[in-house]
Symmetry: C2
Subunit: 344 residues, 2 copies
């Protein structure tokens, strides 16, 4: 039983799965030459994850679209043969609905991935996947993010091979519970009580996690949290790293994590205050972070890097919550934020 | 005479123009169904500008690719019918060259846009555009950024209509000189002498300017500078804005600037310390920033929003330089940075 939200209030009867299989079949039939994703905020990070999955697992070029080219400048890109996917928790952002409306008009196959089947975005798209996460009460989305990641993973794998479930997926709910039981993230919060800026980094599948962690720390604790892919960090932002700017690095056990080794070494050479999020690996492993001076580690289970984003974000969400509490800030009432953001 | 670098040491004999016309003809013949851009750091912002141009002016879907899907995970997206463009000042990043090598192998039309005709990136691509900016002595690229923007604009316009030169382009060198003569940016530097974080924002064509300004402030003055599109700012990061976090907003006189009005109002309501970069507009204009409480303004000429990125970045580069000097930092020796960054 793959509960879409890992123990949330999801339907739990596999209804989402049926829908995902149907949408996957429609995509297989359509054979898109390109996948264009559009989203904002937290959903944008789920969309970024889906872009990696699409290129790596399906061999289809994928990218994130800037809605403003269409909604502000009136661009009408030729999108026949494209799959255009809007990802949004509320499905209420008018600009995303407008992108999907134009995409449909331009001949694209359109899909909305939301937690709100009656939303404008879901209504606009030809296909809809309900992430079945139940009512999201937090303004800073958490369980809907995980459910978006899971839905998009199931979709991509079903397009790749109908009926398939990624190995290890059924263990995720248990692993998520174990990860959430670990108190390290909460203990670590004191370290950032007085920090005013912070850098997060990761590569490949771990990069969306780094971005989402930065957004959560920013919107609940008002930390100036800057997220960079490990590679981009070396092109400029590394200058920021010094012992006074904490760095959170998401480092998995697969190719993405291995490609972070040089970045971790450079950060170590700069005396960065480094915390590593990821599995603790034996010294013999290629992705060993031994020799890298990390002041602390948020241990997460050693799973395939495709699955890791659903686990690695958990201690980071808890960290953001604990930092907010340590600062006396109410994370359920971020200043200046509304749940549905209307931009055109 | 369109000097590629606005008075830099470019060839200046129009050699770049000839090349651009030839590449444009090859693109017209190929009729790409999609444009994929790949770049890092400052060049990534020029690539983002080109993505907007491609969608708005050519009606071809465009997006930025994450090299890691290909270079780290071995993805082999089907890229026949695609134009894949690598943008890099030095042309020396191995990961970009690898993306172009794979793209070529996969049947894509490939193009390198560099300041180094003999570089690995230029050698790997089927076509090459030399931005003719002359030797870039600054580690924090400035004139090569402007020359990248100009080259990409000329290319897109030549694909749209062979032989065409955008209206107003020939005035740019004079306007750039006037903009650089304005001392306001230098005077403003004192305001940020003790700032440790800062937000930059803009929409559409102005968004790459916001991102590049943030990177310049970060790599020369070690400011935690966060860049958001105006729309994304409202999805979370607005929580960061308060009177203690300065905001630099790039606001043009066209659709992108008009779409920023709501963002400026929200920032005003939060008491943000706002500085607006853009033309001073009459009250009757739709994009008027009257009524928005800006503490200062970096005035730039009122030109088409397509051309504005080549002017708007100038006072922001000067601001970054002046802030670095005020802090006693050497902007020509950013800590931890090398000119050619090697990531795989």
């Amino acid at each position: 039983v793959l509960d879409a939200a890992f123990g949330g209030s999801a339907g739990g009867d596999g209804a989402g799965g049926t829908t995902i299989a149907g949408v996957a079949e429609a995509i297989r039939t359509y054979q898109p030459r390109q996948v264009i994703l559009t989203a904002r905020g937290t959903s944008d990070h789920a969309a970024l994850y889906a872009a990696y999955l699409t290129e790596i697992r399906l061999g289809i070029p994928a990218g994130l679209a800037s809605p403003s080219a269409i909604t502000v400048y009136g661009a009408r890109p030729a999108m026949d043969g494209c799959l255009v996917v809007g990802v949004s928790q509320s499905g209420g952002s008018p600009d995303l609905a407008e992108v999907l409306r134009v995409a449909r008009e331009q001949g694209a196959l359109t899909l909305a991935v939301t937690n709100a089947p009656d939303s404008p975005l879901a209504m606009t798209a030809a296909h809809h996947i309900d992430i079945c996460a139940g009512h999201e009460r937090a303004v800073a989305a958490t369980k809907t993010y995980t459910a978006q990641l899971l839905s998009l993973l199931l979709l991509v794998e079903a397009v790749r091979e109908p009926g398939s479930v990624p190995e290890g997926l059924r263990r995720l709910p248990d692993l998520a519970r174990t990860t959430l039981d670990d108190p390290t993230a909460v203990e670590l919060a004191n370290r950032y009580r007085f920090a005013d800026r912070l850098v997060t980094t990761g590569r490949g599948y771990a990069y969306p996690t780094a971005r989402e962690a930065a957004l959560k720390l920013l919107e609940t604790s008002y930390l100036a949290a800057l997220a960079y892919s490990g590679a981009d960090l070396l092109h400029g932002p590394l200058a920021l790293a010094d012992p006074d700017v904490p760095v959170l690095a998401v480092v998995g056990s697969g190719p993405g994590g291995q490609s972070m080794q040089g970045v971790l070494e450079r950060l170590g050479a700069r005396g960065a205050d480094l915390v590593v999020i990821g599995p603790v690996l034996p010294r013999s492993s290629g992705a060993s972070t031994d020799g890298v001076r990390a002041v602390a580690r948020l241990a997460t289970p050693d799973v395939d890097e495709r699955l890791a984003p659903m686990l690695d974000i958990l201690p980071l969400q808890r960290l953001a919550l604990a930092v907010a509490k340590a600062r006396g800030v109410d994370p359920d009432a971020p200043r200046g934020l509304a749940k549905v953001t209307s931009t055109l």
